[in-house]
Each structure stands twice: as structure tokens, then as C-alpha cells.
Symmetry: C2
């Protein structure tokens, strides 16, 4: 193993356990139970220290829950209990902690920090407070938390000098890890709550390597696992040595504890006074070799597992065990059903086909084949007579039946009302089947295809769904090939001409995820009028996106907390047809008649 | 007028205009037009300086729109045009500005600031960048903006030394106004984008007085006007002298320009080098007395005007001019209809009664009387045959008709589907009629009573609606008295016993707005089991609130961006019946069978 000329003292090791737990926001008792189990496990393995994820005790993210005083109090009380249960393995437990009120970027004091509590031998030995608080994309930590003010804090565990940094602390290049290494840290322990997107695992690996090499310290990076509303923590914890070489990698998307001996970085002079966790000399013991790293999962399979875990956890953590969804014979419903069947067990999924008058027979047949292939319950409720009577009711007011597009939207909303009624009566949670492409260009009727309590495919572009269906079928035929082969309907009526999904998905990705402009797209070879039309549709449909259920983030920017535009927004650089102009009555001089006021 | 012993030099004045404009997010051309009109007006009045609101040119809040490079470029280009149009009245124009990238609380560089550009005689003379970036409640400025780093910047306008601070800058007690006064500022010009809630106008008045007295400087506080998604800017701009005495107050909820001579604070030594806007000696001119301050509006009337303006602007700024809503004979629909009629003109509102089988005749009659009283269009679509055929369709699957509560929800969702169909066909924007009380305790079916593109009463407690109805009727009978007098139905079936609305609204307000705990409520005299039941219902229904349309914020904490809890949240301190326990399979040791995985 290369050492880049540095002398790693292989005899000086710290036995480190990492607990990649599957915690739940707000579930202090349940999370504490998981933490205690991992503490026992680590102690049995003779670990010097066990590292838990960021906010292991409280769950992540907390949003405005952290503003509830009674919650902060309860977390502190639960931490005290954990401290009393700690033994001779030091524990680094992610939690929240009250701190001296600090006002740093606006006029409001914050008095709660994101912290890592160090427990040992029945006591709380000290607390590190996260310094860097991410405040972009899905993160809003600066909203409610106070930043820590001691980036260079050190800890003595036996003969090792240890630094503790939390998640974002690692990413700046000149943050707490650098301060700690400069002050004498020989190893960095890093609790994280790092959510998945397609580029994240490679990014983490590169980061951890870089931090280790820059600071000549091994890095123990511990992530959590599980779905929490819009995000999924994918685990994949990492341990690298002081050269950045991989010592261990946890599996993604499942909980585990690991334990290995980590060679310390080169000893160096210590600045300041480390907090002593304990000063016992190291035990005589046999070297514990690192277990083999978990194999890396191919890209689309990561997405599949992310969707399954995100869907499962949304239901399970909300006390539900069964789901209902509409089956249409289309690819969206097919992949949603397949994800739900794997997440919950097929016996806990009900598919309801609601064919409209004139729906092709083969689509209904495919819906049934899908249900059989997945082994889920299946039911048919013909929609024709229902929408007919609604249309009759509307006819007098509208002066005739609705036009084609309103009719499609009416059918989609009627289907949704039926699914909600089934949910209300039977307790199955309704899943929405819409995908990111429709949400992007506004072709999903509000409260229609996107109706439900959770939308597994909300962040999946249409073209990805075909790859996911093929991937699922590798484990045995489940999704009828005719569903995969049927060309998707591309709207060309009131929407104007749209490109194929293959082109559409690329344009949307470049615009939303990479911030490209029309100029960039044209330079990259996309047809200018077509690209302009797509960008305009994206800009025009924010209001629809705001009323959708949460879904699983898998791309670098997902609609929701991650990417929010104003609904009322006259910025339409790509509009070719502006519609009625926005006219706000101007009344600049007091005493003038109020005009349209 | 008392001077607290300080010598105000009444001969040394600055003629200040304020432009309380009604701008639109993203509407650079339209906003620039309003700014130009006010610039002309101020120049005609011989003003030395005209002050615009915060982000006057771009609108506020921008959310992730500011991440679009092409928007930042376009704002800069539009500002250049405004600069070229500027004359001998200096202009303080709120806008965004690119700045040197700055990283202050996490690892992401921000390179756009919230700024006040100073324009004069065809040129941009300089830019002040907001230092304090609010990041709580409805505000998320730290998400995308870089903070300014020159809190003590000064400006020379003629013989006056001027400080410019922006909104949050004013609120810290030791921020830019204090730095500027200490450096020599004789007057503070303050652009704001300050949204309404019931306690805001009094809070602003107290703040401005305090800042003026603390710094011995007059303060010119200019706010904008208008609805923007969930918030309404209510104007009410203020000018106080160096003793904090009111010189002028703009009206609330309407645009205007004002102009008056403001006596400067006492001259003091100047630290640093003010940026010279111009150094002309003051013109010989007659003193321009302050116009009479706008009268203060009673509390409930402020709310009424806020709802009307918020609803009007949501529609108008989104290019719509007409609305449709369901009329039920209840108070919610009545107040929503009355607000809509005033916001859009009664001729632009369609009320549709959709009585269920067995709905009382007097409620249908009241709906019709309401429509007549308000002068809105009215139509009846009986729901009975529609829900009957849906229930028939469901019967086989459900093994009979749905139970009572699911049936009510089905009726509400069917009504919503009908309103959407009308909207799709006729272009009227559907308004939701639900109120804050139902949203708080989860008694509004998702996509039922809260279905629509905008929900005017989303932040109005039920008890407030009766006061608003009475207030509306003071201007002529419009809402039938029987609607106001009819006791509201309080659910007692599956929901358990709930207190009267009068008590319920107090409990909800104390819990959500004041952060009180059950203990606090009991200490204040509320019945413990009843209060506990309410808090549990509030905790349990976050998922319903997330799929609601935007509405008008009127309280100190409104659901939406202002107050967001995790949906998946096992924290249930007030639960008496927990429902099925949350069981997350724990798989702590790698190699174990994955269990429920």
C-alpha cells in the first residue's frame, strides 16, 4: 500500500466501529434503542470508539421540529440515559444540543446546535458542535441551528488524538478537519446525514480521499440509512487511511455495524488541550482486519434500491403497511407498482384499473398481466359511467361536454377521488404514479396523476423508467414487455409540439440541474424553437408542482425543498406566446383615484 | 415637537420621496416602468432623493429564481437602463447585484447580493449590499444571497451625509444603522420588503422610533405593496424625525408616492469617505410640509384588506381575472366568495352550489342568497347522482358503500373535480375555501375543501371568519345573517370530542404561534385532555397541509414556508392513542439476514 513517503505507524491503531443506523425523525425512544444495540455490539467487538451518524438520536432533517422546546428537552433527557449506559467503548453520538444563544447572519438568536456528544463509562465527556451549516438545495440548517465556534476541538481516546467533524464540516477545504489536523489530530471521526442522488456516492468517495490526503489523517465517515420524506440516506459509510486508500465501505441502502482497526496518521505536536475521554493505555489484542468492502452497485440499480427504500420507509415510518395505486397499462404505473411491491411485499399492494370509455383493451389487459406478474391484488372499476354522469352535470354550465384535454384531466381527477375513497375506507396509502418529466413540463393535471400521499417516481425522468423496468425484469418477468415496448404518447395538441422524451429529458436536466440557458442548449446542438418551447413549459408550471406529494430525490435537483421557484413569477425569458399580459394597476400618487383598486 | 434636548437643525433638510410601489416578482420591464414613473414624479416634486422598496426592480421573494444566471444578467441590464434615465433626483433602487463570491456559513459560494443601487444624473454612483440576511419563518435569504461586508458605508447627497440600510439591517440594534450613524450619517434611508401579519404594523412603528432615537437620525422606511404567493406586502411606509416622532405614514395596501422635507439629524464628525452622489449646494426653495399621515386601519379591517389584495394579486399577477368556488351555505365559502367578489369584481366570480343528497334546503337557499347579495354568478350542480354512481363503482371492492367520513371526503373531492373541470374549460381560477382551523386539526380532506390554486382563508382561524363577515356586512348586507348565525358543525365522531371553535382557535394559536406546551396551556386554564387531543391532531396532520395551495399569511406563523414540520415524524408527545407502532427493522450487524429488508 503506498504511503506517499509518510510513515504510518501500523502499530498505532484505533479500533473503530461505525453504526450505519436506520433512524426515524422524532423517534427518540426507537433511535436510542438502535444506538444502544450498536453500542453493545461495538463493546463486544472491543472497539475503542463507535461512531454514529449525524443527528442519529433525533433523525434528520428536523425542519421546524427543533423549534419545539419540549422536543429539545426530550432529546437531552434521552442523551443523558444513553450516557449512563455507555461503557468502555467511547461513543460519538449525533444529536442536538442547547448552546449559548448565537446570532450570526440575521437578527434572530439560535440556541440549538447540531452536535456530536462523546459518551464514555457512564458519562457525557463533551460535545462537539457542527461549524458549517449547509443552507442550499435540500438543506436549511442555518434556518434553526446555531453554528459551533470551536472548529479545532480535539479529543484524547487512550493514546490517540482524535478530531470530530460533522458532515458539511468536511467539505470546505479549510474547515474543522484542517483545523483539527493542524492542532494534532491523528484520525478524523465524521458523523453524516448525507442523502442520495445519482452523483453522490462517487462525490463522497473523492471527498473523503482528498480530506485524508490533505490532512494526512485517516477518515471514518459514517452515514445513516433510510427514507425521510423527500430524501433517502443511502449509507455507504467509508473508512480510508491517511493516504486516502479505502480500508472499508459499508453497503448502501441497508443498516449495519462495522468494526476495524484503523492505523493512525503520523503523530504530530498537539496545540491546545484535548478533552480527555480516557487515558488508558491500549489493550494487548490481536489485530482486527477490515472486513471486505461492500461491492459497488451499478448506477441504475442504486436508483432502484433508493426508490424501494424511500417508498418503504415513507409508509413504514408513518405507520402504514399497504398501498393502493391506479394501473393504466402505462410505464409509470408499472414501475410504481413494481417499486411498491418490492417495498411492501406484493400482498400489501392493491392495483385498481379504471378504464375510461374507449380505453384500448390491450392496455387493460396489460394492467392485469402486470398485477399477475407482480403478484399484487387487482381490481377493475370502469370509469365510463362515472365520468359520463359528471359530464352530464357539467353540461348545462359549460354549454356542452368539456373539450378533450379538460376531459382527460377530469378522468385523472375522478380516478384520484376513487383511490382516495379506497384509501379512506381500507387504510391503504394512495401512491401517485407521475414522473419528473410530466411535472417539469406541466402535463400532469393537479390532483390527477400526481394525486397521492407519496409519489415514488416524482424525480425520475421518463426515459429512466424504461431502464428501471428492464432492470426489474432481469430478476424474472414481471412488467409485461408490451408495456415497455409501447411508445409513450407525446402530447401534440394544446401543448404545441414537444420533442421525444429522449431529447426532452436531456433538455430538462440541463436546464434544471446544470443551470444551462437556451443559448447553452443551442450551442450543444438542440433545436432552438423546440428547446425554447420546453423551457417555457418548465417555467409556466411551477404552480402545479407545489401541490404534489413528496417523492424520492434521485437527481442532483429535485422539485420540492430542493428546487423552488416563485409561483407568481413574470420572468418568462423563453415565452413565445405570453398569454394575457400582466397588468398591475399603478397608483403612484396619493390622492389619485384608486383606479382598479 | 419635543427634541429630547438635541438640536435639530430645521433649516438643514433633505427632500425625500418614497415610492411604495406594487411590483411583481420577475417582471423586470413592468417594475422598471413603475420605478421610472415614480422617478419622474419625485423629480417634478424637486426631491433630493427618491427611495424605493427592497428588490423593487426584481420583486421579493425570489426563491431559486436568483440562481438563474440569465435573470441576474437581465436585472443588471435593466438597472443600467434605469441609471441612464436618472436625473437630478438621486434614486435608491432595490435590486440584486453580482458581488465577489463570498462563503460565510457553509461551503457554497454566493455571488449575488440584495442591494440598493444609487442612481444619479444618468449614472450608477454606487451600490450598498444588505448585511443581515433573515433566514427564518417566511424568509430564506441566506439560502441564495451573499451578505454585504460594508455596514458603515456612507453617501453624500448635496450637503447631507446619508446612510442606506435594507430591511433586516434595521432590526439588530447594533447593525448597519448604528455603524452608519456612528460614522456620521445624518439620515437613514431604508428600503424594505416587509410582509404583513397582524402584529407587524405596530412592530414596525416601534422599531423605526427606536432606531431613530438610538441613532439620533431621521428614518425613511419605504415598504412595497402587493400579494406574492403566500405573503402580502402592506405598504404603510413611515418617516420619523431624529426624535422618532412620526412625520408621515403611507396608507396600507395601496401604492403611492410621497414627498416631504425631512430635517436632518445633528451634524457629527464623519469617519471614512462617503461616496459622493453629488455635492451641489441645496436649492433655494419653499419648505414642503409633510402631507397628513394616512389614518390607521382597525385590526380586522387590515386583515380584510390583506385578504382582498392577496387574492387579487395572485390572480392578476398570474394573468387571470376570474375565479370559481363552491358555495355551501357555510361561513368559509361565504367569506371566500365575499373576498373574491371584492378582489376581482362580482362579475368575475362564479359560485357553484353542489348539494349532496339530503343537504338541508336552507343551506342551498343561503348559498343562493349569498350569490345574489354579492352579485356573483351562481349555478347549481346536484352532487347526489354523481357520488351515487361513484359509490356504486366502489361498492364491490369495498364490500358495500363507504362509511360516513369517507363519504364526506368523497363528496368534497368530487366537488373539487367538478370545480377543476369548470376551471379547465372556462379559465376561472379555482379558489379553495378551507380555513386555518381545519388545516390545523386535519379535518379538511386532502384535495377536497382545500382543493384549488389559491386558498384565501388558509391562515384565518374559524372564529375570525365570523368577525370578517360582520365587517363586510357593515358596508351593506351581502352575507346572509343566517350563515353567520348558524352554529358551525363540530365533529364529534371519529375525531373524538373537540372543544368549541372559540377554545380550539386559542389552543392552536398558543401552540403554533407562541410555542406553548401542553403544560403552558393547562397552566393557562385549558382543559388538559381536550388540549392534549387538539395538540395531537395538529401533530398528526402535517401531511395534509403539505398538499394545499398557497394562501394569504395573516398570523405570526402561517402553514407553508413559514412553518414546516417533517411529514415523517414519530415525535408524538401528546398522543394518547398511538395507532400502529412504528417498527423499523434493525439490522445492525453486516452479514445478518436482512430481515424485513
Amino acid at each position: 500500500m503506498p504511503t506517499n513517503g509518510r510513515i504510518l505507524d501500523r502499530d498505532r491503531t484505533l479500533r473503530v466501529a461505525g453504526a450505519q443506523i436506520r433512524n426515524v425523525v422524532g423517534d427518540l425512544a426507537g433511535n436510542a434503542e438502535q444506538i444502544l444495540a450498536a453500542m453493545s455490539h461495538a463493546e463486544e467487538a472491543g472497539a475503542d470508539v463507535v461512531v454514529f451518524p449525524e443527528l442519529a438520536l433525533t433523525g434528520y432533517p428536523l425542519a421546524d421540529l427543533v423549534l419545539r422546546e419540549e422536543f429539545v428537552d426530550a432529546a437531552a433527557a434521552t442523551l443523558d440515559e444513553l450516557a449512563r449506559s455507555s461503557g468502555l467503548t467511547a461513543c460519538v453520538v449525533g444529536t442536538i444540543a442547547r448552546v449559548h444563544p448565537r446570532r450570526s447572519w440575521d437578527v434572530r438568536d439560535r440556541d440549538v446546535a447540531i452536535s456530536a456528544a462523546v459518551l464514555f463509562d457512564g458519562q457525557l465527556r463533551g460535545v462537539y458542535h457542527k461549524v458549517m451549516l449547509p443552507n442550499y438545495e435540500v438543506f436549511d440548517e442555518a434556518r434553526n441551528f446555531a453554528p459551533g465556534s470551536r472548529p479545532d476541538a480535539l479529543w484524547r481516546i487512550g493514546e490517540a488524538i482524535v478530531g470530530i467533524a460533522i458532515c458539511e464540516d468536511l467539505w470546505s477545504g479549510d474547515g474543522p478537519p484542517e483545523a483539527q489536523a493542524a492542532a494534532g489530530a491523528e484520525i478524523l471521526l465524521v458523523p453524516n446525514a448525507s442523502p442520495f442522488h445519482q452523483e453522490k456516492p462517487a462525490g463522497r468517495r473523492a471527498l473523503v480521499t482528498e480530506v485524508a490526503r490533505r490532512n494526512a489523517t485517516p477518515v471514518v465517515y459514517v452515514n445513516c440509512v433510510g427514507g425521510q420524506d423527500e430524501i433517502v440516506f443511502d449509507g455507504g459509510s467509508l473508512v480510508v487511511d491517511a493516504d486516502g486508500e479505502l480500508l472499508y465501505r459499508s453497503p448502501q441502502f441497508e443498516a449495519e455495524c462495522f468494526c476495524l482497526d484503523v492505523p493512525l496518521g503520523p503523530p504530530r505536536p498537539t496545540a491546545g488541550e484535548p478533552t480527555t475521554v480516557h487515558g488508558r493505555p491500549p489493550l494487548q489484542r490481536r489485530q482486527l482486519p477490515a472486513p471486505p468492502p461492500a461491492p459497488e452497485i451499478p448506477a441504475d440499480a442504486q436508483v432502484w434500491q433508493c426508490l424501494v427504500l424511500g417508498t418503504r420507509d415513507f409508509l413504514v415510518k408513518n405507520g402504514r403497511s399497504s398501498a393502493v395505486l391506479g394501473l393504466s397499462g402505462g410505464i409509470d404505473a408499472a414501475v410504481t407498482a413494481a417499486v411498491a411491491a418490492e417495498a411492501l411485499g406484493p400482498e400489501n399492494v392493491l392495483g385498481v384499473a379504471m378504464p375510461a370509455l374507449g380505453s384500448p383493451d390491450d392496455e387493460l389487459h396489460d394492467a392485469e398481466l402486470l398485477a399477475v406478474g407482480l403478484g399484487i391484488e387487482y381490481h377493475v372499476i370502469p370509469l365510463g359511467s362515472i365520468t359520463a354522469v359528471v359530464r352530464d352535470g357539467l353540461a348545462e354550465l359549460l354549454g356542452g361536454a368539456p373539450d378533450e384535454r379538460p376531459s382527460e384531466a377530469l378522468a385523472a381527477r375522478t380516478r384520484a377521488a376513487i383511490l382516495w375513497a379506497i384509501s379512506d375506507q381500507l387504510g391503504h396509502l394512495p401512491l401517485a404514479t407521475g414522473n419528473k418529466t410530466e411535472l417539469s413540463v406541466g402535463s400532469a393535471a393537479v390532483h390527477g396523476d400526481m394525486a397521492g400521499v407519496f409519489a415514488p417516481l416524482k424525480d425520475c425522468p421518463k426515459t429512466l423508467l424504461y431502464r428501471l423496468a428492464a432492470l426489474r425484469n432481469q430478476r424474472g418477468p414481471a412488467i409485461p414487455q408490451r408495456i415497455i415496448d409501447r411508445p409513450p404518447t407525446v402530447r401534440t395538441d394544446a401543448w404545441g409540439e414537444l420533442p421525444s422524451y429522449a431529447v426532452l429529458d436531456q433538455i430538462v436536466e440541463r436546464y434544471l440541474e446544470r443551470g444551462e440557458t437556451l443559448e447553452d442548449l443551442v450551442a450543444a446542438g438542440f433545436d432552438a424553437p423546440l428547446a425554447r418551447r420546453v423551457l417555457q413549459l418548465v417555467d409556466d408550471s411551477e404552480f402545479q408542482r407545489r401541490q404534489t406529494p413528496p417523492g424520492v430525490k434521485i437527481t442532483t435537483r429535485a422539485f420540492g425543498q430542493d428546487l423552488r421557484m416563485p409561483i407568481t413569477n413574470a420572468w418568462r425569458p423563453y415565452a413565445t406566446d405570453h398569454g394575457p399580459p400582466v397588468e398591475v394597476p399603478l397608483n403612484p400618487v396619493r390622492g389619485d383615484p384608486p383606479g382598479a383598486e
